[in-house]
Amino acid sequence: MQQASTLPGQTAVAPSTSIPTGKLGVWWFLASEVTVFGGLIACYILMRLGGSGWEEEAAHLSLFFPLLNTVVLLTSSMTMVMAHAAVEAKDSQRLRTFLLATVLLGVGFLLLKAVEYSREMAHGFFPHTGLFWAFYYGMTGLHGLHVLGGVVVNLVLLLTAPTATATHQRRVEFAGLYWHFVDIVWIFLFPLLYLT
């Protein structure tokens, strides 16, 4: 996520609006992501309202794993905020600690999800078992891929630029925006799939 590039021999022109260029790009990216999940969630709600027997299917889901996962993901959002605070305070040590914590929590979320999937499948619930299960695997799977993407981004941040420079400060902020978005999607998925 680089800022407006300046070629040698040319002057940099300040952004035309008060929003930094990189952040503007991330916001547009997130806007398009919202419509992907929005479309999927809208399909789920409409099909569920028009169908029957979805509650019984949903009742087969374990509540323990997603509840734990909600805690894990919310905590990782907090550590991401603390990483951002650390980079603003130019504290490289704390930045590394909190980025590492965010990465580990993200990996933890994926591991818990894998355990949850394998338990459901052991009980005979596969994507092709029924429409609820197709939506369940489709929605949580797409969300899981987004978590994986966020883990990779945070890992790259952790490995490539361990010092708290200005560029790095922006990158941590942008990665944080994405990470919070992934968190918010889960906040929608959790009640829609597990609690209803």
Binding site: M1, Q2, A4, S5, T6, L7, P8, G9, Q10, T11, V13, P15, S16, T17, I19, T21, L24, G25, W28, F29, A31, S32, E33, V34, T35, V36, F37, G38, G39, L40, A42, C43, L46, M47, G50, G51, F126, P127, H128, G130, L131, W133, A134, Y137, G138, L142
Partner: protein
């Protein structure tokens, strides 16, 4: 020049310019102009492929199951000594639509012109995210490769129509096409990802990289149209990506999102597809309209009529485009009570577009019109697009649509809109900006020959198609002679096919002109058309980094023929008032 600007210019440090290697310069380049040409090249190559597919399909419709000249070399099981079977015809129908919409119209109108012009028109050195831009073109190249490969996998290419309706597309056994359709979906997903990256770049660049003095309401309309198109694409494609994931799951994991047997609903795909599909029409249309607006203003030597009105009307049309989608589904089994509201919104959308069209005509009114090749193509776009818009009103009215749905009337309708915007509008832009892109002018006479041949054979091919459609010929049928009631229409089908072949041959003057002008055309000066927008203040072709100094903008983009001014144009970065310019001249 003001002191602030002087100070800015003084900051420019002389630099040692390092010649990048061939690969960095032409292949893995982050320069928006090179990326634009890469998109243009891929788009034109796909246009050739899509055009040849149209020829093969038309041959089959005129003289079914006879060998297609030039294509006797195609091996079995695609064609049998040059004659095609219905399976291959289905694949051609599917891929012609997919290619022309997603691999020709979008890369040429959005990506090529948008990439080339947005940074130049806003006075920037490059896109906001040049490396993201390079990634977008390479993802598009990968999408092209995947689509190309999909022809050669066992089972053949996708053949469920360009709309990929389930249940036909949801199970391998329904079409016999396995990986062809999976790869088709993958190619589309990659293409969407590429254009999302492009859209983010377009919006961010136009919002944040504007030159000093260039307020939003001094932006050329082309930039506005690209921005609105980018927003429409970003907000409409998400649900289809979700839908494509579900379709892929149906095909690969055995889910039943779209299969009634498993509780699913095939209509769900139609909703998702057309929720995207109608804004997508405007994603293609708006850049085309932007091109036409720029050209009409320059060659009428008049300010665009109702500049802000056009922007507001387009935004209104963009919002309306999200609530018209079910007009594609009047006979698909939606609740009949829904048909009327969707008819109303569909016909309502013609109001803002009529506004834009009338604004174009008002721009021409009493202008000093120069009928150059780009202007001819722009006027051709306008005239033919109106015909496409008018037949759209027939299609949008549920009672009429029930009769003409899925007939050649619909095929004629969307070719009048898409062909006029993509091909005629695209050529208008290419003839107009070619000097800026390549530093040489295209040959005018050859260009005019190209225009007249194209416009004549286009109309000669597609006007009769309306009659064939009203006569009852269904789209996507491989052999009209199988149906007794269609046999009287066969002479018209032959006429259409001959016209299409001549239309394709009419593109030869363009190819000759393009290649010849690239090498030996007249050297273009900085501003050959005497236009106002910022791209004409850069050298032709602009170097890496575009402008010698950061341009400063003092006025709107269309100040032509101002009273009291001697020269009839005033570039946006010209500080002098009309009177001062007159005095200086």
């Amino acid at each position: 020049m003001s002191d602030a600007v002087q100070a800015k210019v003084a900051e420019v440090v002389p630099h040692v310019h390092e010649e990048p290697s061939f690969w960095r310069r032409y292949v893995f380049s982050t320069d928006h102009k090179v990326i634009a040409k890469q998109y243009l090249t891929l788009g034109l190559l796909w246009a050739l492929a899509g055009g040849l597919m149209a020829y093969m399909m038309r041959w089959q419709l005129a003289w079914p199951e006879t060998p297609v000249p030039l294509f006797r070399w195609v091996p079995e099981p695609f064609m049998y000594d040059g004659a095609m079977g219905p399976e291959f015809y289905n694949a051609l129908v599917t891929l012609h639509g997919t290619i022309m919409v997603f691999f020709v119209a979008m890369p040429v109108l959005l990506a090529a012109f948008g990439n080339f012009l947005i940074p130049l028109m806003v006075g920037a050195q490059d896109m906001a995210f040049p490396r993201l831009n390079m990634l977008s073109v390479w993802v598009f190249a990968l999408a092209s490769l995947v689509l190309f490969v999909s022809f050669f996998v066992p089972g053949g290419a996708a053949s469920a129509g360009w709309t990929g309706y389930p249940p036909l597309s949801a199970r391998v056994e329904y079409t016999g096409v396995g990986w062809g359709l999976n790869l088709w979906l993958l190619a589309l997903a990659l293409e969407f990802a590429s254009f999302l990256m492009g859209g983010i770049n377009f919006l961010t660049t136009a919002i944040n990289l504007r030159a000093p003095g260039l307020s939003m309401f001094r932006l050329p309309l082309f930039v506005w149209m690209q921005m609105i198109a980018a927003v429409l694409f970003m907000l409409s494609v998400g649900p289809l990506i979700a839908g494509a994931i579900m379709l892929l799951m149906d095909r690969l994991l055995g889910t039943t999102f779209y299969l009634p047997a498993g509780g699913g609903d095939p209509l769900l795909w139609q909703h998702l597809f057309w929720f995207f599909g109608h804004p997508e029409v405007y994603v293609i249309l708006l850049p085309g309209l932007g091109i036409v607006l720029e050209i009409i203003a320059v060659f009428s030597r008049k300010p665009v009529f109702a500049y802000r009105g056009i922007i507001y009307a387009t935004i209104i049309a963009g919002i309306l485009s999200f609530i018209v989608w079910a007009h594609h589904q009047f006979i698909s089994g939606i609740d009949p009570r829904l048909a009327m509201p969707f008819s109303v919104t569909t016909i309502l959308i013609s109001v803002p577009f009529a506004f834009v069209i009338f604004a174009m005509i008002a721009t021409l009114w009493k202008g000093s019109i120069h009928l150059t090749t780009p202007m001819l193509f722009a006027l051709g776009t306008l005239a033919n697009f109106i015909l496409g818009g008018v037949t759209g009103i027939f299609n949008g009215s549920a009672p009429v649509d029930i009769y003409i749905h899925d007939t050649y009337f619909v095929v004629a309708h969307f070719h009048y809109t898409l062909f006029s915007i993509t091909v005629l509008g695209g050529f208008a832009g290419l003839y107009y900006w070619f000097p800026k892109m390549f530093g040489r002018l295209l040959h005018e006479t050859l260009g005019k020959v190209h225009f007249w041949l194209t416009i004549v054979f286009f109309n000669s091919a597609f006007i009769p198609m309306h009659f064939v459609g009203v006569g009852g010929m269904m789209r996507r049928i491989a052999n009209p002679l199988q149906y007794e009631f269609l046999q009287p229409l066969q002479p018209l089908n032959v006429w259409i096919t001959v016209s299409v072949i001549l239309l394709l041959l009419s593109q030869i003057p363009f190819v000759v002109n393009f290649v010849w002008s690239l090498v030996a055309g007249v050297q273009a000066e900085r501003n050959p058309w005497r236009a106002n927008t910022l791209e004409w203040s850069a050298p032709s072709p602009p170097p890496h980094g575009n402008f010698e100094t950061v341009p400063v903008v003092y006025r709107g983009p269309y100040e032509y023929s101002l009273p009291g001014s001697v020269q009839d144009w005033l570039p946006q970065d010209c500080e002098a008032s009309p009177r001062a310019a007159a005095a200086r001249a």
